[in-house]
């Protein structure tokens, strides 16, 4: 059968072009790879190579023709053994192949929310990737049963809890290993990995050079094969060097592989402001990572949550960003003893019940939230404090359940205000519980400035209990 040569598209956006010049003439033999013509677009002159072999039976579009639409037949090739004149007479009659139909657009979910559609005929997500809808009457997650019944309660620091979580999971699964700067012989820059080298040896507790980009990539590569790395960043500020591997490689590969390539990896380390370390060592990245589909983002406040969530993160088949806080490392909390204690990722915890206003926070922001609740109680305002614990996927239902009760909300974080986690919380409340609000949602955040070094300025740049109290009173109109 004679073969039509079609006007080719030379870029994703080209619709037409000029057939500048034929380099072969009718009757010429054509081999695959031969340049047969030149096409001019608004950007460049490109060569057209033959794909099929045979004799150029007929040229349908002459040299110099402008505005030739893509996919217009421009010539006919008679295949080996075919009659050239027959081929030429049947020219240009081949059917145009079906190009991509934009069928997806018609039934695409509503773009406004970026969430999974909620209608009955909507496609159902097989893995809970998108936010599940919040029911009309939201129900708070009950975290009170997370501590195993009868378990001995130990008072321990966040640092010890994190170490125990890693040690337990490494005992449980030989595929789990820890890598990072100073994690082994130095016993951890913040002593979080203390004792792990002694128990698990240098093959599973690996000191890396100072080379975040490289070792993050090595960790992701190892995870793609099914190993379960825990990659420690000395601080998440340094993970900026590695963020390409975290986002482009770890978070997106499952989707880009059509579900074939999971990436079970935990990136952990201190995040946010410590004390007097200035702008390059004080950044809170919760909002950054929470913006990325494919990642889970966890930011615990208590030692028990840190332990239970880190164990869950290590067992999770997805990349998890585990944001710790240097100031919290030394704080002690009650933690249940035993290997079975897990805290589910994606569930908030009601840290203090109340009726008058909801205060939502996470990580070290909880110190301001709880401090404010105590101060407010003295003034007769009972605040309900919710610890999100996981930023992504966010347990907004527990927040909504509280707001439906209190009708007021203050969201608190140490991060910057614009596009922050508290901005997201406010928006989600407005989407799901607008009619329940008696006041606009308020937020207390870090100030919109790089973190200053001077003690007085640093204090001003961070949120404080007084600001949370003031915001809570404002939404209570008191």
């Amino acid at each position: 059968m004679p073969i039509d040569i079609l006007m080719p598209a030379l870029s994703p956006t080209m619709e037409e072009g000029k057939l500048a010049k034929w380099l072969k003439k009718e009757g010429d033999a054509v081999k695959a790879g031969d340049v047969i013509a030149e096409i001019e677009t608004d950007k460049a002159t490109m060569e057209v190579e033959a794909v099929d072999e045979g004799i150029l039976a007929k040229i349908l579009i002459a040299d110099g023709t402008e505005n030739v639409a893509v996919n217009t037949p421009i010539a006919v090739i008679a295949a080996d053994g075919e009659d050239v004149s027959t081929a030429a007479s049947g020219a240009g009659k081949s059917e145009k192949p079906a190009a991509s139909q934009p069928q997806a657009a018609e039934s695409a979910p509503p773009a406004a929310t970026g969430e999974a559609p909620k209608t009955a005929e909507a496609p159902k997500a097989e893995s809970a990737a998108a936010h599940p809808p919040v029911p009309a009457q939201a129900k708070a997650y009950d975290a009170s049963s997370e501590f195993p019944a009868g378990a001995e309660i130990v008072h321990m620091t966040m640092r010890e809890a994190l170490r125990d979580a890693m040690a337990e999971e490494m005992r449980r699964d030989g595929d789990v290993f820890v890598m990072g700067e100073e994690v082994a012989e130095y016993q951890g820059a913040y002593k979080v990995t203390q004792g792990l080298l002694q128990e698990f040896g240098p093959k599973r507790v690996i000191d890396t050079p100072i080379t975040e980009h490289g070792f993050a990539g090595i960790g992701v590569g190892a995870a793609l094969t099914g190993l379960k790395p825990i990659v420690e960043f000395m601080t998440f500020n340094f993970a900026m060097q590695a963020i390409d591997q975290i986002i482009n490689s770890a978070a997106k590969t499952l989707y880009m592989s059509g579900g074939q390539m999971g990436c079970p990896i935990v990136f952990r380390g201190p995040n946010g402001a410590a004390a007097r370390v200035a702008a390059q060592h004080s950044h809170d990245y919760a909002a950054w990572y929470s913006n990325v589909p494919g990642l889970k983002v966890v930011m615990p406040y208590t030692a028990a949550d840190a332990k239970g969530l880190l164990k869950s993160a290590i067992r999770d088949p997805n990349p998890v960003i585990f944001l710790e806080n240097e100031i919290l490392y030394g704080r002690s909390f009650d933690v249940p003893r035993g290997d079975d204690f897990l805290v589910p990722i994606g569930k908030a915890r009601v840290a203090r019940p109340g009726t008058d206003v909801t205060i939502v926070s996470f990580g070290i922001g909880m110190t301001y939230a709880l401090g404010a609740a105590e101060a407010l109680a003295k003034e007769g305002i009972e605040a309900e404090v919710i610890d999100l614990r996981t930023i992504r996927p966010m347990d907004i239902e527990t927040v909504i359940a509280s707001v439906q009760k209190t009708n007021r909300c203050v969201a608190v974080e140490e991060g910057f205000p614009q596009s922050g986690v508290t901005a997201e919380i406010g928006m989600r409340i407005m989407e799901a519980a607008f009619d329940y609000l008696d006041a606009p949602v308020a937020r207390v955040t870090g100030k919109d400035v790089p973190m200053p070094y001077a003690a007085n300025l640093e204090k001003l740049a961070l949120p404080n209990i007084g600001e949370v109290v003031a915001a809570a009173k404002a939404v209570c109109y008191r």
């Binding site: 996919n71 097989e126 090595i218 989707y255």
Partner: protein
């Protein structure tokens, strides 16, 4: 006897590159074969290489054509001209060895034995594509064939590939990681971070630098202070070789040495494959940064497929009919893939929301 890096007969590189191209570096390769003449292939090996390279060539030509017809969108980077590199490497690797590369990846996937239908249908964004149409030209993977992508961020695959080598080392499974990247990616910082750790920990990684002379439109000598890429691991003590990447025999020969070095626990090895891409960087690149003569000369004098074809005719007396039969078989595979990729439906709209996170760990 330890032989330092060596140079097989390679096509002439641009002036500045050739000047710096030393025959050896001080790193020890651990290879114990003496400098030899060009290794020879058996008839079966020549036929195998011919078939594999021709499949890639015809597949890529077809992909270019389908791009022109609007069936393939976005970016599409063709491997035409570089076929001998991946085919020669695969001839030296064994089952279980892992492969990873950048965005010019169609050839690698075919050489790894991934289905041509699945590759082409991914190019057209259809449900039968290897990534269900969600990855496209630059992002395909196969656990079964140990192919780890398909990566669009230049240089990122080098650290990832080192991680594959790390996993091999961690598991002690005696496999190696074949990590491909171009002369352009070779200037990325994470490449050297990876070299450092690979050698520090003696990871079984073969770094295959496909030097096709142009990083997009920038000639090697305009972007690289050291254009002898086999020397790029020198300061880490990683041995390297320059290889005529247009001659599949030279590629396999060097690959055997490099893979043996990595597999035996001696650490990484660098192979600079001196090769050439006939087409532009991507479909919309008219390649004005080089002369037509240069391209023409490479095609006429160094074409990897014509070299094999010549030897098959001359040395093994394979007749034109037999070669034509191979051509026809390859064309049939490619046409079948194109046909499938043209008519396979687009992904179901529900696929938008799948594969974002995994619910449960795989068994």
């Amino acid at each position: 006897m330890a032989i330092a890096a060596r140079k097989t007969k390679a096509p002439a590189q641009p002036k500045t590159a050739a000047k710096g191209a030393a025959k050896s570096n001080s790193a020890k390769s651990g290879a114990d074969k003496p400098l030899s003449n060009m290794p020879t292939f058996s008839k079966e090996e020549e036929l195998h290489a011919y078939h594999e390279m021709l499949l890639i060539r015809r597949f890529e030509e077809k992909a270019g054509q389908m791009y022109g017809m609007g069936l393939i969108g976005g970016f599409c980077h063709l491997y035409i001209g570089q076929e001998a590199v991946v085919v020669g490497m695969q001839m030296a690797s064994k089952e279980g060895d892992k492969v990873i590369t950048g965005y010019r990846d169609h050839g690698h996937m075919l050489a790894c034995g991934m289905e041509s239908r699945g590759v082409m249908a991914e190019l057209t964004g259809r449900r039968g594509g290897l990534s269900k149409g969600k990855g496209g030209s630059m992002h395909m993977f196969s656990r079964e064939k140990h192919f780890y992508g398909g990566h669009g961020i230049v240089g990122a695959q080098v650290s990832l590939g080192t991680g594959l080598g790390f996993a091999n080392w961690y598991r002690g499974d005696n496999t190696v990681s074949l990590t491909y990247f171009g002369d352009g990616a070779a200037n990325q910082g994470q490449v050297y971070e990876s070299f450092n750790m690979a050698q520090l920990w003696k990871l079984p990684v073969v770094f295959v630098i496909e030097n096709n002379r142009y990083a997009m439109g920038t000639a090697v000598n305009r972007a690289s202070a050291q254009t002898d890429f086999s020397k790029r691991g020198l300061s880490f003590g990683i041995p390297g070789e320059q290889v005529d990447g247009m001659d599949v025999r030279a590629v396999r020969d060097a690959a055997e040495r490099a893979i043996e070095h990595a597999r035996s626990g001696k650490g990484p090895y660098i192979l600079e494959m001196q090769t050439y891409r006939y087409r532009g960087h991507s479909m919309s690149d008219p390649a004005k940064y080089r002369s037509k003569d240069e391209v023409q000369r490479m095609r006429e004098e160094h074409d990897p497929i014509e070299q094999v074809r010549g030897r098959l005719t001359r040395d093994f007396k394979i007749g034109e009919d037999e070669l034509k039969a191979i051509d026809a078989k390859v064309r049939e595979i490619v046409n079948d893939a194109a046909e499938f990729a043209t008519h396979d439906p687009e992904p179901d709209v529900s696929e938008l929301w799948t594969d974002i996170t995994l619910e449960k760990a795989r068994a």
